[in-house]
Symmetry: D2
């Protein structure tokens, strides 16, 4: 699968503002980025740093008056479609050190509150089958409603309200996985099938010694996602973080499959 | 400063339980650990892994019926006492990649809610002086009350209730620092001066290119703290995490200064 | 059914404290109180006022050093056991004015968050049958765990954690009822069958033009409950509210059935 | 002071919906309503009931497709401007029964969390002077920002974020008053000076045996407010409550002073 991606952001700024941008498809063994261009206009203090877990990069910018960003790239996805439902949970004492942070509670994923629910609903099944059952449960019980959540909505809110957007689905999926002691993180990316098209967020679950993308919205497939970055939850994968006041003028994402 | 440390934990377990232990003083350039012994009784599946940011180690255990842990060590602290109040904030585009996660909101530190408060109260001062003013503000306005918080208490709760224990002080300190775009994490450790003596938690703030311990409780000094580990907040530095039911029988910590 | 009730409270007070006490069985057409005695010791400023909705009374006291309260009474319960499951929901425009407050969200019952859940799970059934299905759902999915909740636990927390004590069961029951536009309040009382014996709290639902007791814990029956008072949630029916610091020494409740 | 008031509401409805409307100026000794007209279009099941505390009325409606409401009235305000800052707090055992509910925590006013703050900041002053100091503190530390809060924002959120709209100012004012054991409720109304003009909400505090309007936004004066209704917080005084899906098309309020 080859994806042709473009993203355009335009923001009005008052005073000079420090910004962190994380919108580029990551260079990974499983996804090869070609023809990538990034134009950040007249901003200064451009600095690239490695993003979380060494997946992708973040860019610092200092900007005045206006931010105009245009990014485009072609990404060849070579992710092998593994059926994670058949994979075992890694015994806890065999978990790699770098996965441990993804067992812990985070800003939007208060997983310890879900121990009883997870034991009651999914206590009989293990590993990838359990993750699959959780994913199906979310897709069955939730409704995708644009605008139904905001920057304060955590997995507990979404679980009760039973609706949300992609980040809420990802938060609930991650929360349930962690509540059964399986490492889980969120991934930002560009994906085919997202309706309305925008940046996408999905869960990634550590099973059988590797990370596997799990999209509880049912909108996308593993092979159609170009990863940008990973984190504990939405607090880590914002495509644009402003350390000051900004106002959105335009935000447009396109993702197309090319031969 | 040389500290003689011991910790004893005894827990009753029902079924076999996976446990993660993080109670050993970390081996660091600034603190030299000698005569360390750790006895974990009859537990199995003992596995050591690096802890967060490579500071200290975590230990996996699988245990039945009872957990009896005894740890003792002598730690020579060679931390230079720097007056962080005179240090500058690192410009954002110069921040090392590994500090970025400590700008983000976390489970117990919803820092974005404090932007107005921080701008109003501390907007006129910068860098280390700002951190010092925040620390003093917390010490002045808060009361240390044993048992006044629980595992759900976040920095927002503590800020409103104006009381808490060491972890709550650390959470508020970290939250205010992040709300002014200064990286901040929490540190678990053994410290002289903690009353009643127990594991301690303090904030650590990134100023002038290095991390500096800041204890808003006023109970301890930088030079009297033996670090165990670091994390975004209390969710990352628990001394004992049980993946199953456990019941505390005994927990005792002693810290003494030796010549 | 005739109940013999006694309650003993002993508290240590520091400074003089204003207290509100609400522990007497209410005099109601459906429950006749006899041989009632209330001893409040040396407290002053004793003042009796009508409690919420005119059901029962509240007592103001000003006390120093110690509060010793002893209450005993015999209450004949003449509540007709109606099967509320067969009753209709009152059309909204026919609801009496005094029931409207019990449709609204309250401190522990944020009912608007449950609109989707209630529509999904109970959307096909109406009136008393819906309330019965909700009650059964709670009893099936929740576990009664002493000490599993505290003064901050609201119905949203309990719903996610799926456990609690009587007040949490009552809060969830009330919340689900309000989320389907049926007035619901909480009732404090003395009841046979409460294990461990203590003050009890249950939901009361407005169906077919009258209030009906609904106990989602399954521990008590309508005919075995002597009501003390009613309110929107636990914030209104506390048996003892102190406007200052107090410390419990003893609290003992006995309820026996007598011929 | 005589106010000429008008309010126009237009909403699109999907299915038939039960609605509760509370937009009419209340008939009270202190405010005389003249020339009032209310047009609710083609809705059915019109039923008027007394609103909370017998202040004003609520109207039930069942509507299809569209709701078009127009209300206009002239209200002569004869409220004596008393300086509440000089009034004493009523001793608790002298509080009328009907004020007690306004001491308790409510949906948006979790007052018990503010006991320490209130004792620290306002512990030295009493009664009306304390209420005045609280009002001034809020006005000084808060910024009025349209759109900065939503239906989930409670007084704790507003206190931390230090901004909000009229209902948030009222919630914080009420919360601080209750935290010092002074009964406090919220009042909806039409008021001169509200910018942008809309329905207004202010606190009402029980001092010296009577209720006194206290507007922490500083936008309005007691004599310029025509009360609609009262309640524990915003959960009780919504001008329109829909028991089903609705979508706002237009909402316009005008308030003018006439000779």
């Amino acid at each position: 699968m080859k994806l042709e991606i473009s993203a355009t952001l335009a923001y009005r700024l008052g005073d000079p503002v420090d910004l962190m941008l994380q919108i580029e498809a990551a260079a990974l063994p499983e996804q090869v980025v070609a023809h990538a261009t990034l134009d950040v206009g007249t901003c200064t203090n451009f600095a690239r740093i490695a993003a979380q877990d060494g997946i992708g990069e973040r860019i610092w910018l200092s900007c005045e008056r206006q931010l105009n960003v245009h990014y485009s790239a072609t990404v060849a996805i070579r992710r092998t479609a593994v059926d994670y439902r058949g994979l075992p949970q890694v015994p806890m004492h065999r978990l790699p050190a770098e996965t441990i942070q993804y067992l812990n509670e985070s800003r939007y994923c208060p997983s310890n509150k879900f121990l009883s629910f997870v034991a009651d609903e999914f206590g009989d099944i293990q590993g990838g089958a359990k993750i699959g059952a959780m994913r199906d449960w979310i897709e069955t019980h939730f409704t995708y409603v644009s605008g139904s959540s905001d920057v304060d909505t955590n997995a507990l809110d979404s679980f009760v309200e039973r609706r949300g957007v992609c980040r809420d689905y990802a938060h609930v999926m991650v929360t349930l996985a962690r509540a059964s002691a399986i490492p889980a993180r969120v991934v930002s990316g560009y994906a085919l099938g997202v309706e309305p098209q925008d940046f996408h967020a999905v869960a990634e679950i550590f099973l059988g010694g590797e990370w596997h993308l799990v999209d509880a919205t049912g909108m996308t497939r593993e092979a159609d996602i170009a990863k940008i970055g990973v984190g504990r939850d939405a607090a880590d994968i914002s495509f644009l973080t402003a350390y000051g006041e900004i106002e959105m003028l335009e935000q447009q994402v396109t993702v197309r499959s090319v031969i």
